[in-house]
Amino acid sequence: MINDLYQQVIQRQDMSSAGLEVIIMLVVAYVLGFLFCYVRARRDEENQP
């Protein structure tokens, strides 16, 4: 999904109309980063003796 958005963005000639896609990509990246950290923290918590 993020790859499609990325392709759409880089193939545009005018970025001004691609604001929504860029925002969606950034939000998805933000959520992915959050989830990555969250899952890692939960795993550490469960492995804690």
Binding site: I10, R12, V22, E46, Q48
Partner: protein, 229 residues
Amino acid sequence: MTPMSSIAGTFGSASLTIILLLLAAFLAGMLSCQLLKLLGICCRRPRRAATTESVYLNVEPEIEPEASPQMYTRSIYSETPASAPKPPPSPGGPRIELRKPAPLVEAESTAGRSSFESRVKEMTGGNTPVAPDFRTEIGMRDDGQEDDLTRLEGIGPNTEKLLNEAGIRNYARLATMSRDDLRRILEAAGSQFKMQDPKSWPYQAELAARNNWDRLREYQEFLLHGRTR
């Protein structure tokens, strides 16, 4: 976001910028998760509530501490190094007399165990005396309730699960376990638990079973900060 425009064809030339933006967003997500974790809002397993209301109501323990002062005497000195400072007495708390253990207790060490047992056999004519039920003696009842063992210092959620699987579900039961038995349970569970030191757990569990939370907190403070690092 500021709209970007390019004179020279597509935005393929701006892909590096976009990738950097995505990376920045990813890192921002991680950072916010870390911040929430530090604030204690996310990523932490909720602890179960205490099983006894006495924790909050500060109810006096049902059993008088004078009933078996030797339990305190034996336990507190068995867990502390000789050079460690003694914990301060709790003002207004239960009167606990801290005495050095009797020389007979020293025979519990591995070296003196055989001679100790042989001496006991000689004294009793081969009939080993049956020890009275520890729980009945100090008034703790193992009524099958499930306590939150993670309140004890050194026991985490996984260790609690392990102890539960071994049939240790409450403080009274844990208080009756010997260190060797606990160590065997931990060693059997694998390398993850092997490094743990369960020697203070029975005493902590005994204090918890007596609802002696003030003393338990003092002892845990001593365990955490009283020993030489």
